[in-house]
């Protein structure tokens, strides 16, 4: 249910890693019978799928891998674990901490042992290296797809790029599809109808399939999401696992520990990421999406705003919302005003 789950380990054990994050608003009412309403919609939707047994992948799952990321997920997993086999990894949340990394590596070793025990497949070094190569190839292809958006205009919209992303990691036919898409679009002229759109960086929480409301609104009102600094965008694919490392498990632990989710502290990696992505993608304004009740992204948004407005001198808009469509007009108005700000800067740039 998270990008902290090391897909390589699951693949090395002969498993198929499937992401279970919920994006459907209709799952939420059921979840609110057991969970507080004032909780992140992603957590509620995921839990709703569990209660209603409405996600076939979840129903087919042999094992769930969870992490102690945010408080809401952590406590929701406790209830889910009553009914489903689950391994919970404890994620150390101090950034760049040797002891924390050692602990995370130990947690991944424990996951590996558990996978071997349950499924009787030894996770050999060779299988790990193979899985690392596969995932690195997948991340590389997805980076190249994301890089298509650097063009002005690009050959596709942000929503279309988001739709390319698979729920399931490491499937050869998906990688072939990525290759075909790249062959069709790399080096091609961009779409004429996307000329003049305001280039937007979307940052913050993940935009899970079904919850693309803000992406759609952003692109229906004059914007183009050229980059997503979130877990359904660039965040998990920016770094690869070091294939040359002597200890593949340690290398996996390092890559995944670096994921700059707002649960990490002080999360300066995320700010550095934003500093690089903005000029690379020709970003003209930043929209930060915070799901309601997501405390870590909400509090961190203050630092992101300061970075964007003061250091990067770009207009910034924070949108706090849930999966309900009822605030679409209010969000659209704010996006339009943001784009007007960005456009006026185009005209007045020296």
């Amino acid at each position: 249910m998270c990008e902290y789950t090391p897909r390589e380990l699951i693949l090395a054990a002969g498993g198929v890693p499937v992401c279970l994050c919920g994006g459907d608003a209709e799952m939420i009412p059921a979840a609110e019978e057991a969970l507080p309403a004032n909780l992140c919609p992603l957590i509620k939707s995921t839990f709703g799928y569990h209660l209603l047994r409405a996600n076939p992948f979840l129903e087919m799952a042999s094992l769930l891998v969870a992490e102690t990321t945010c408080d809401g997920k952590k406590k929701m997993y406790e209830i889910m674990a009553e009914a489903r086999p689950m391994v919970v990894l404890e994620l150390p949340q101090r950034e760049s901490d040797e002891a924390g990394l050692a602990h995370w590596e130990a947690e991944l070793r424990r996951l590996g042992t558990e996978l071997e025990r349950r499924f009787g497949v030894p996770i050999t070094t060779a299988r790990l290296r193979e899985a690392i190569k596969l995932m690195n190839r997948e991340r590389g292809l997805r980076r190249r797809l994301a890089a298509l958006m650097k063009a002005d205009p690009p050959p596709l919209t942000g929503r279309e790029l988001l739709d390319c992303k698979s729920l399931i990691s490491g499937i050869p036919s998906d990688l072939e599809q990525y290759e075909r898409t790249l062959a069709a679009w790399e080096g091609q002229p961009g779409r004429a109808d996307l000329v003049g759109r305001v280039r937007v960086l979307l940052t913050g929480v993940p935009v899970v399939h079904g919850a693309e409301k803000v992406v759609d609104l952003a692109e229906e009102h004059g914007g183009l999401i050229v980059a997503m600094e979130n877990c359904t965008g660039l965040k998990p694919i920016l770094d690869d696992v070091d294939e040359t490392a002597a200890d593949p498990l340690r290398a996996i632990a390092e890559k995944y520990a670096h994921l700059p989710c707002s649960v990490m502290t002080p999360n300066s990696r995320r700010l550095d990421s934003l500093r690089r992505i903005v000029p690379e993608f020709g970003v003209e304004c930043v929209v930060e999406l915070v799901w309601q009740a997501c405390l870590t992204y909400d509090v961190e948004s203050q630092r992101v705003r300061r970075l964007v407005e003061t250091e990067l001198a770009l207009p910034y808009l924070r949108i706090e919302t849930d999966y309900s469509p009822s605030d679409a007009a209010r969000i659209a108005l704010r996006l339009e005003a943001l784009y007007e700000m960005a456009q006026s800067r185009r005209e007045h740039r020296p």
Binding site: R330, L333, A337, E340, M341, S344
Partner: protein, 276 residues
Amino acid sequence: MWCVGVDAGSRTIKAVVWDRSKHEVAARGLVNQGIRQAELAAELVQRLLRELGAGPGDVARTVATGYGRTHVVHADQAVTEISCHARGVRHLHPDARMVIDIGGQDSKVIWLDPGGHVHDFVMNDRCAAGTGRFLEVVAARLETDLAGLGEQAARSTHPVAISSTCVVFAETEIIGLLSARTPPADLAAGIQRAIAARIGAMVGRRAVPPILFTGGVALVSGMAETLALTIGHVVELARDPQYTGALGAALIAADQAEEARARAGSRPRNDVPGGA
């Protein structure tokens, strides 16, 4: 040649006709909002043009703003009221750094950079408690209108603290206070303070003078002073505060018409329709 700005708000539709050659407002007017927004807006504009001895053909460009901006189908473009209020206020008060706009159903605070461009904004369009609606509800209970409410508030010696955060519940609270013989003037002043408190929360500690006050609620006497008390800075009433949105829209229309003219002028001769 004229440019027209239409501000289709929640209570009224405002229109401003801007004279591009004389660089001034040629006409302005408003009508009450209704179901037939597009027709009401069109009729208003046509009336203003007729009074100038002009017709739709004399209009270079029309920009619509406000809550109903996408319904004003005869407009060339819709621009948000954030940009339009900023533009209108900047024209009237070139050194303005902050705009407080309180309309019938929403309120906003807009920060301008030294160049007059929108730097940041905060809007309340979800709760009636910081809007003109609150004043309307109370005015009705006090059996007066908005102007009368302002006059009453000015006579208050002890403004009442309204505890309800919701307009609906506040109305009930006011009925109770009236039965308890609370002076209407104190209630009127209390409501003004309640609205000012909502705006104060939006401004936070980020007040940057000069602060200009726009929107229909700016016309209610005492509101600017009450806002100033809460924010801790002078709050100046914008000139013609109900029309700043429509004025800004007209000015943006004029800017766009000018850009189009400049672009057409810089095209190669054989590109101009109809030949040289």
